[in-house]
Amino acid sequence: MVFNQFYRYIRRNTLNVILLFLLVTFILYPMLTVFRKSFMVDGVFSVANYVKFFLNFRYVRILLNTFAVAVPVTVISTLFGFVLAYSAVRLKIPGSGLFRRLALFPLIIPPFLAAFGLSLFIGRNGFLTRLLNLSWNVHGWLGIVIVQSIVFIPYVYLTLEGSVQSLDPTMEEVSRDLGAQEFYTFRRVTMALLTPSLLNSALLVFILSMADFGTPMLIGGRFRVLSVSIYVAMVGALSRVGWAAVMGSVLLLPLLGVLIIRDRLIGEKSYITVSGSRAATSYRETSWYIKLPITLLLGVVSLLILLIMGTVVVMSLVKVPLVNYTFTFQNYPELFQSFVSVPTLLKNSIQMSAVAALIGTVVGLAIAYVSVRHESKIGNFLEYIALVPFAIPGTVFGVGYILAFSTGWIALTGTWYILAINVAFHNLPVAVMAGKNQLQQIDKEMEEAARDLGASGLRVFKDILAPLWRPAFYASGIYVLVTGMRTISAVIFLVTPQFNILAVKLLDLLERLHLDLGTPLAVVLVAIVLLIQTLLYQLSGEKGLGL
């Protein structure tokens, strides 16, 4: 009898049990392993590592540097992203479509590529620096801040766009109608309503900035931040995984703290949203003195992105980048004949990303379903865990996987699918949110009506849920796939000589200043990502991000 009940409970909750297992294994377990490792000295529990960290001025300095970058980047990116989102949805700005396209471009390029492009352009030996015979220096704090401020704009945009759209323009009109000045209206109505989403996007940028190590590595010069130190500790000559775990924990603990108190602080959750129809924009009349500065700002950002990417393309088409500017197409054939086996890397990248997209989307949508439809405690709990990777810097997530899956009951490192799993679970929040948003628009009674007419659970899924859920499926699938193609932060620790991927190889080449191979490879990578994304959006019939 008891056994029967237990059996029925398990059977009815099979999905929950499976999801719980996956989340615990691939999110909680690796993170706990990082913490455990950081508290272990010679096999016993100890805080000695932390004492060592905080008493050493060098490390404290690195920690402070990390904040010194993350704080201004958070402010600037959030501001720019907000201006972009608000103007794209509400203001009639000439050329805003183009601005939007360019500003979202960093979403499809490897995060470090912008840093590299910038250093090619105005770096110490940059193209423009040489041309004008200048002696400025962007390598260091300034360079990191410039690049990160630009490349994180799209994340803010995607977090805010939905919120700005759902702001009823009538509210702004009512306020104006009641005699409020434009700025007063903006401050007291618009901003007040957007505050939760703004705080969320700021938090996201803060985390992204702390996690990013490609940018500081390529343009940071001698300015050290924590993510780079973690990377060096992991891959340096004498690998110090334990020390990486300590630094990872120092990074992760405050972020998780913020995540936990966030619900109380902000009250409302908003995340990157990649699905959902782009609602009809409702423009409002605005004075030129507001439009002009906004247009200028967007123009500058767009131009910068254009120049950075343009420089990379140009350098790939010259004989010796930065030295001999004779035009040639030779670099491309040479790339394909070189030791860089592009086709294999490409195949690996696509294979890994596609599997990641599939896993991430299926698990993410399943969690969205359980959390929206079952309204049970377990559903909420699953969603909560699934959104945690939002606060985990990629580097730390990678360290966690190395520690958790090298030995023991799940030994997966060295396999290619651990990369796919890593990418899938790191991007799980995007899939969950896409699924939730879509599902909330699908009336539950539709599913019940179908069941009622004799459709089995599977049939309901096939006839009702699948077609109506398709946009979310494609949107998050394509997002994860593209992210997989360009990501490095977590997977860089998980690739093996046998299974390397394009983005990691590219960083490797650029870091070692193989410009003749690196620049064409960068162009090839971006072109392929762009191609794949366009193709998938075409095939799926979804509008996508409109890049």
Binding site: D443, K444, E445, M446, E447, E448, A449, A450, R451, D452, L453, G454, A455, S456, R459, D463, I464, P467, L468
Partner: protein
């Protein structure tokens, strides 16, 4: 198909949504569950359709207990409050869905679905998408979609509550017409007593998870057997009193505003019994006599002109004021507020309710 529930109980945590309800829904009839919002109507329906599993009691469809049968294996169809129309299917595909799921032959699907569309007056709209239809038309799609599978019982959960008043009256006639035509067993849920009266063969009045009274609409209206029903159905005045004396034909009752005589309706009334008294607002007359049998004095609080009748609210010295409806009023006979007046209640129209 006859439907029966026995001792049906459904909890949500500590809340008892359905409290040991037993009820039979006759084959081929339309039975309405009527009660205020939150009284457990939907929960009862969902136990019948299988979306909830009862905590206690049994659901019989025909002769078999179906507690363990999942929704899609029950011969039950539901018209949901939000309709649950499939937006990605045409009207025809929506209606044909149940037959497709049951893998009926193509020609049969075609014929049946078109026949149903014709019956609900949507013959030409099969190729449209639901978005392109009005609220009333969508309602018809939902009805046709459920009826096409010839369900043993059709459940309707406040299907008209999203429509405007005029359309609601029209659609309820439509539903009733279809029901009489197809002789489908229907269980209809509403909190609107007028709608319930108009549409039903039988009414089950529900409150706080319990069935208060079952009967045909006329019985329920005229002979409520408990305070809740009396107050909920129609406009009624309800007073608690005590039996003073029992005679052959009549009983005299002590009420807060004096004693009155009422017709004796049952044998087991005894002197000293506590009873509830109900009288409908139409069962008074305004009289010039200041004294006499069943004459009550009161003060006019408000008068409301409602076209075919005038409704007076009269203070007779109790907590609740008494409602009095005077049909076909003439404008010059309107009484002024604050005025004293006398009401006569006919002994036959007083209805005693055991407390």
């Amino acid at each position: 198909m006859k439907v029966e529930i026995r001792n049906l109980t459904k909890h949500f945590g500590d809340l008892i949504a359905v409290d040991s309800v037993s009820l039979t829904f006759e084959d081929g009839k339309l039975t309405t569950l009527l009660g205020p919002s939150g009284c457990g109507k939907t929960s009862t329906l969902r136990c019948i359709s299988g979306f909830y599993e009862p905590d206690e009691g049994e659901v019989y469809l025909g002769d078999s207990v179906v507690n363990q049968v999942p929704p899609h294996r029950r011969n039950v169809a539901t018209v949901f409050q939000n309709l649950g129309i499939f937006p990605h299917m045409t009207v025809f595909e929506n209606v044909a869905y149940g037959l497709r799921v049951k893998k009926r032959p193509k020609s049969e699907i075609q014929d049946r679905a078109n026949e149903l569309l014709r019956m609900v007056g949507l013959g030409d709209l099969g190729e449209r998408y639901p978005k392109q239809l009005s609220g009333g038309q969508q309602q018809r799609v939902a009805l046709a979609r459920s009826l096409v599978v010839e369900p043993g019982v059709l459940l309707l959960d406040e299907p008209l509550s999203d429509l405007d008043a005029k359309l609601r009256v029209e659609m309820r006639k439509e539903i009733r017409k279809l029901q009489l035509e197809l002789k489908t067993t229907m269980i209809y849920v509403t909190h609107d007593q007028e709608e319930a009266m108009a549409i039903s063969d039988y009414l089950a009045v529900m409150n706080e998870g319990k069935i208060k009274q079952v009967g045909n609409p006329a019985e329920i209206y005229r002979r409520p057997d408990n305070e809740f029903t009396a107050r909920f159905i129609g406009k009624a005045n309800y007073v608690n009193g005590q039996i003073l004396a029992v005679e052959e034909e009549q009983v005299s009752i002590d009420l807060p505003f004096g004693s009155i005589l009422a017709k004796r309706t049952s044998d087991d009334i005894q002197t000293g019994d506590e009873v509830g008294i109900m009288f409908r607002p139409t069962e008074f007359s305004i009289t010039d006599e200041k004294e006499g049998v069943n004459v009550i004095a009161g003060t006019l609080i408000t008068s409301m002109f409602l076209g075919s009748l005038i409704r007076y609210e009269v203070d007779v010295g109790m907590e609740d004021n008494i409602m009095v409806d005077v049909p076909e009023p003439e404008a010059d006979t309107l009484l002024t507020e604050g005025q004293e007046l006398f009401l006569r209640i006919l002994p036959d129209s007083i209805y005693l309710i055991p407390v």
